[in-house]
């Protein structure tokens, strides 16, 4: 009797749920194991203890990173916002050491910069990770990933002289990702190559605390700071960070006397309000003076903003005109070429000093850092 009992719906559903969950959990379990392997790989990278002044032990094994204004509080094995710092037994280590994901020879104009050694080529070095999370990041594959998970090359300081001399280069630029998150590596490269006359230029979002910034100022000759918006709400929406520390960074660099250029990427519907742009230009004029070049860059649909259209050319040109109206001497348009806004003009006589198409210099009318027509000094690092 019992043997012939007909299976009930409950029995049937129970069995299906049992077997079904087994089938579904199998691939997930495998994937999970895969993830464990990936973490094991992270242990293989060179763990470099960062200087004690850049972090603080809070209690037990908890540490607080002091490099950027996020002040990440990390428990044992905790990883910072930037994805490069990890807490091992109460000591903060960086995984961004000797393992760049990009090494390429680029014109320095790529930073972008218009007044720093125009026409020179540099060795660009970038390590994965970034402390900001910009919605439109053009290098998000590198910047929003842990360095040890990227396809990298081993590039310790000892290899720098060889790499530079092979291409006859004298400049190292740090670009594409965020140099702040691999500053220990930059400092190591800089200290090693100091005696060999190597120059360093940094492109950064400037979201960094004063102490570490001073160390970077100590080794770098030029800074290109991306000022992503000029009001805190927009800045937070676009980057998940705050505006004030970036403005402080701009002021600190200016005070230090290092060469400074500012970039503003104009993103439609986010930071393209002309009032805000005018305020930003006025602030720059008042606080860093008219001679700091300002680049207005065109946004192209990228990363999480793939469905947002490119910046209208007219918007870019309006911003360019506002910059000049306000009194800034050197305003540029980037990501659009050929365009009159790519060129450098003498603010006194209007002569075209440097004519550019893309990253190429077509014509250079500067004579020893002076206008070839009126002879006035044009600020910048020209040689």
């Amino acid at each position: 009797m019992e043997k012939n009992r007909i299976i009930t719906r409950r029995d049937f559903l129970k069995s299906m749920a049992r077997y079904g969950s087994m089938v579904i959990s199998l691939p997930l379990a495998l994937k999970y194991l895969g993830l464990l392997e990936e973490d094991a790989y992270a242990e293989l990278v060179r763990k470099y203890p960062i200087p004690g002044k850049y972090y603080k032990r809070i209690s037990g094994r908890m540490v607080r990173c002091l490099i950027c204004p996020f002040y990440c509080l990390l428990g044992e094995s905790g990883i910072g916002q930037c994805r490069t710092k990890k807490n091992y037994n109460g000591v903060l280590y960086t995984h961004a050491m000797d393992n760049p994901c990009i090494i390429s020879v680029d014109p320095v104009e790529k930073l972008p910069t218009a007044h720093y050694l125009p026409g020179h080529k540099s060795l660009t070095v970038a390590v994965g990770g970034c402390n900001l999370h910009c919605l439109y990041c053009q290098n998000w594959q590198q910047s929003q990933e842990r360095p040890e998970r990227l396809d990298t090359v081993r590039f310790p300081k000892e290899r720098v002289p060889g790499a530079l001399s092979k291409k006859d280069l004298k400049i190292i630029t740090y670009n594409y990702t965020e140099p702040v998150v691999f500053m220990e590596y930059i400092l190591e490269l800089a200290h090693y190559s100091r005696l060999k006359g190597i120059r360093h230029a940094i492109a950064t979002a400037g979201y960094i605390n004063k102490e570490p910034l001073k160390d970077l100022i100590g080794i770098a000759e030029s800074f290109t700071i991306t000022l992503k918006a000029f009001d805190d709400t927009t800045y937070r929406r676009m980057t998940a960070a705050t505006l004030k520390p970036v403005l402080d960074t701009i002021l600190t660099i200016k005070e230090s006397g290092r060469w400074l250029e500012v970039v503003n990427l104009i993103v439609p519907t986010y930071n393209d309000d002309m009032k805000q742009i005018r305020e930003m230009c006025k602030w720059l004029l008042k606080n860093v003076g008219p001679d700091v070049p300002l680049h207005f860059a065109r946004f192209v649909p990228e990363y999480r903003l793939k469905n947002l259209p490119q910046t209208p050319l007219s918007t870019l040109e309006k911003a360019y005109n506002i910059g000049r109206e306000v009194g800034l001497h050197y305003v540029y348009t980037t990501n659009v070429s050929p365009h009159p806004g790519n060129d450098t003009y003498c603010p006194y006589c209007g002569t075209t000093l440097i004519k550019r198409v893309g990253l190429r210099i077509i014509e250079n009318n500067l004579r020893n850092g002076r206008c070839s027509k009126c002879g006035r000094v044009i600020p910048g690092v020209w040689a």
Binding site: K3, R5, I7, S104, L135, E145, K306, N307, P312
Partner: protein, 748 residues
């Protein structure tokens, strides 16, 4: 007279329910399709959720009977709710972004999108399921039409709605207008049936009046709904217009002096298209030393044409699939006059296949291969067709973002296309800056100085445009990035795990999903990682488990063994039905790309088959397990035929449409008949119906989600059919081994 009238009204009621259900399903399907950027993943998701929740609604029916709720009140209440909830559901799909807190133009995560789709669709499907069962119960008590006839009428209504929607309604009405019309028809039909019940009549009459008032307002409601959607999508931008094309939804927005064109919520082009268009067209044309003829498959018609003029080409053919898109663009963007330019509004693949002309340069500028419709322009078959129409030394420029970035999917996507191109052409060159992959049997040039000279020679004597100069080639063909990219992509293209992209096995779609998921971090990519982890052997394991389940049941008793075999067969046939239904839609997208318009017909064909099969089996009740076994074997045969049709879809051409309808109809018939046969094997048919339906639904949902959505993308269509077949084989074995000898132990 009165009886006759009641009968006619009941016939109309079930027809109207079928009609309404189908219109609701098509409307939901189209909205989800647009939200999913036109991805076929939406097919499986919508049908899976639809079946699961509608089934759940239907299964609540016995409880309703117990609660004595199967009254006219219940029917009226459900119709009231449904008539109003379908337009609301359409609107909810449009504004769902607001729940995700995403900013202007921000990409929506795949997982959140899927979850929100389920949340929005579930209540509607549940109500529809309840309506279905309530109307059947009402029929049982008052109308006496019989469930079999009701089932047939429902399916006929679905079939009619599918055809009417695709051929007429979509042209005459906006999406909200169509669902309001269907609501009006349903409420009116129920109104007639409930004419003798005062209070229920008032409820339905209210719904009917609301809907009737809303119909003339539907253009306004549609406009408001679309504006709400685009205000959430791109706040601040003004929505200029939204058009329903046969391939998807075209939207035009305006920001400052710039017009932006979206297809299925994905940005396609912005005009004025100044710099990007200028550098792209020059980067592509310059790869040929003496271009005389050009074929453009898709692309922009603004600045590109101004640049093309400088090359003094003898013949330019511009092929655009959707005339509506060009018409729309032309309304807002001045189109330059170009000598020798001819527009062709025809499917680009069809044009390439039919044309007798030959070209020096072919530029393909289609959307990225996230969908099968777009993937058709990145496949091995298509590249072979292109080669046929190239002059000796001709060049193909395939527009696609080239990435050598560390994320596996980005790199694999580029490597897969390069690998596929390498199968057809001797030389391949990737250009990361402009997003092109060039292919030719002649030598391709990456040295910008050579191209600089070539450009000057080719455009000598013509006036340069504002947006391009010869020096720009130094930027476009940057030595370092070009060299690095090609080295890496070619190395990856050699790897075995990088798959060739074909019509039937679209490897790039899977990689594109990976790219989409990787945009939003690890947590959001769980769904993709799950889909990506699906392998063919998983289905073999599933099949084995089905067999194991039956063996286990058999060990516990002969009766249990027989029962398990029947239930498993129904479940496996559920998997089969949805595999065929969804895979056929995938195949049609690969071949023609206009499922957005005709989805109703193919769904209705399946529904029609379901009803026909069910009715046919009713007349052959004595077949029982033999009938069930026959259905399983017929299903295997259908899967075999479907695999052959998919494999040869390029050869089949337009006849694939008819084959698709026949496949859907027969698959539906097979599932419908099997259900009746399974029911006939049961002694307690009335109480077993619910359980069998449950098994069918579990199978159908698994088939829709696991095979129809996931496996058909990661494994390809043929492998999906094979996966379904392998599951069916285990059910056939179970039936053969445990269901008793034919003719003797048929009834369990």
């Amino acid at each position: 007279m009165g009886v006759k009238l009641s009968r006619r009204l009941s016939i109309n009621l079930f027809f109207a329910i079928g009609f309404f259900e189908q219109i609701a399903q098509i409307s939901a399907f189209r909205q989800v399709f647009v939200n999913f950027k036109g991805s076929e993943l939406s097919f499986g998701l919508v049908l899976g959720v639809w079946l699961l929740f509608m089934g759940a609604g239907t299964l609540i029916a016995p409880r309703i009977r117990k609660c004595r709720l199967a009254s006219p009140f219940m029917l009226a209440g459900l119709v009231f709710l449904l008539a109003l909830s379908v337009p609301v559901t359409v609107h909810l799909f449009r504004v769902v972004r607001v729940l995700m807190g995403k900013g202007s133009g921000e990409v929506i995560p795949l997982l959140s999108l899927s979850v929100s789709t389920i949340i929005i669709l579930a209540p509607l499907c549940l109500l529809l399921g309840l309506l279905h069962s309530t109307s059947l119960l009402y029929d049982e008590k008052k109308l006496n039409l019989g469930s079999a006839r009701a089932y047939l009428l429902d399916a006929t209504g679905s079939l009619f709605a599918g055809a009417l929607f695709s051929f007429l309604l979509v042209e005459l009405f906006n999406p909200i207008g169509v669902v309001l019309l269907a609501s009006a028809y349903l409420t009116f039909s129920v109104l007639l049936v409930l004419r003798k019940h005062v209070f229920p009549l008032v409820i339905v009459l209210t719904a009917c009046l609301i809907v009737l008032v809303a119909i003339p307002l539907s253009p306004h409601l549609e406009k408001e709904s679309q504006e709400a959607k685009w205000q959430i999508f791109t706040p601040g931008m003004s929505l200029v217009e939204v058009l329903q094309s046969r391939y998807g939804e075209i939207a035009v927005t305006k920001w400052r002096d710039q017009y932006n064109f979206y297809l299925d919520s994905q940005l396609q082009k912005s005009y004025p298209d100044d710099y990007p268009a200028a550098s792209r067209i020059n980067a592509a044309l310059i790869q040929h030393p003496h271009p005389r003829s050009l074929l453009m498959l898709g692309g922009s018609i603004g600045q590109s044409l101004n640049e093309i003029k400088r090359y003094r080409l003898e013949r330019i053919d511009f092929v655009e699939l959707d005339p509506q898109l060009i018409d729309t663009v032309a309304r807002y963007v001045p189109t330059p006059e170009v000598k020798n330019l001819e527009f062709h509004f025809i499917d680009a693949r069809r044009f390439v296949k039919k044309t007798e002309k030959r070209y020096d340069v072919i530029i393909i500028d289609m959307p990225a291969p996230l969908t099968r419709n777009a993937n058709r322009f990145y496949t091995l078959e298509f590249f072979g067709e292109l080669k046929r129409i190239l002059n000796p030394g001709g060049t193909v420029a395939l527009g696609i973002q080239v990435d050598i970035d560390p994320q596996r999917e980005n790199l694999f996507l580029s490597a897969s296309i390069v690998k596929t191109l390498k199968r057809v052409f001797h030389n391949v060159l990737a250009l990361p800056t402009e997003g092109f992959i060039f292919a030719s049997d002649a030598r391709l040039v990456s040295d910008w100085k050579v191209l600089y000279e070539r450009y000057r020679r080719l455009t000598e004597g013509t006036e340069p445009t504002k947006f391009f100069q010869a020096e720009c080639f130094s930027l476009i063909y940057q030595e370092g990035p070009v060299e690095r990219t090609n080295r890496k992509i070619l190395a990856y293209a050699e790897k075995r795990e990088v798959r060739i992209n074909t019509d039937a096995t679209p490897s790039t779609i899977g990689y594109m999903f990976g790219v989409w998921s990787s945009l939003l971090g690890e947590k959001e990519s769980i769904l993709y990682r799950f889909i990506d982890s699906i392998r063919f052997w998983h289905f073999a394991v599933l099949s084995f488990l089905v067999l194991l389940f039956c063996v286990g049941a058999r060990i516990r008793g002969v009766g249990r063994g027989k029962t398990a075999a029947v239930y498993s067969a129904i479940m496996c046939l559920g998997v089969f039905g949805l595999t065929v239904e969804i895979s056929v839609l995938h195949a049609l997208q690969s071949a023609f790309g206009f499922v957005y318009l005709y989805v109703g017909i193919f769904n209705a064909a399946f529904m029609g088959g379901l009803a026909l099969g069910s009715i046919w089996a009713l007349n052959h009740k004595e077949w029982q397990t033999e009938g069930l076994l026959t259905c399983v074997f017929v299903a295997l045969l259908i899967l075999g035929l479907a695999a052959v049709a998919v494999k040869w879809m390029a050869v089949l051409g337009d006849s694939l449409l008819i084959i698709a309808c026949i496949l859907n109809l027969t698959a539906g018939a097979c599932v419908g008949a099997a259900f009746r046969f399974a029911l006939a094997t049961r002694k307690d048919a009335a109480s077993s119906a619910g359980r069998l339906y449950g098994a069918d639904l579990i199978g159908a949902t698994l088939g829709a989600l696991l095979i129809g959505s996931a496996a058909s993308i990661t494994l390809g269509l043929v492998a999906s059919f094979a996966a379904s077949a392998i599951i069916l084989v285990s059910s056939a074995l179970s039936l053969l081994l445990f269901s008793g000898k034919p003719g003797k132990g048929g009834r369990l």
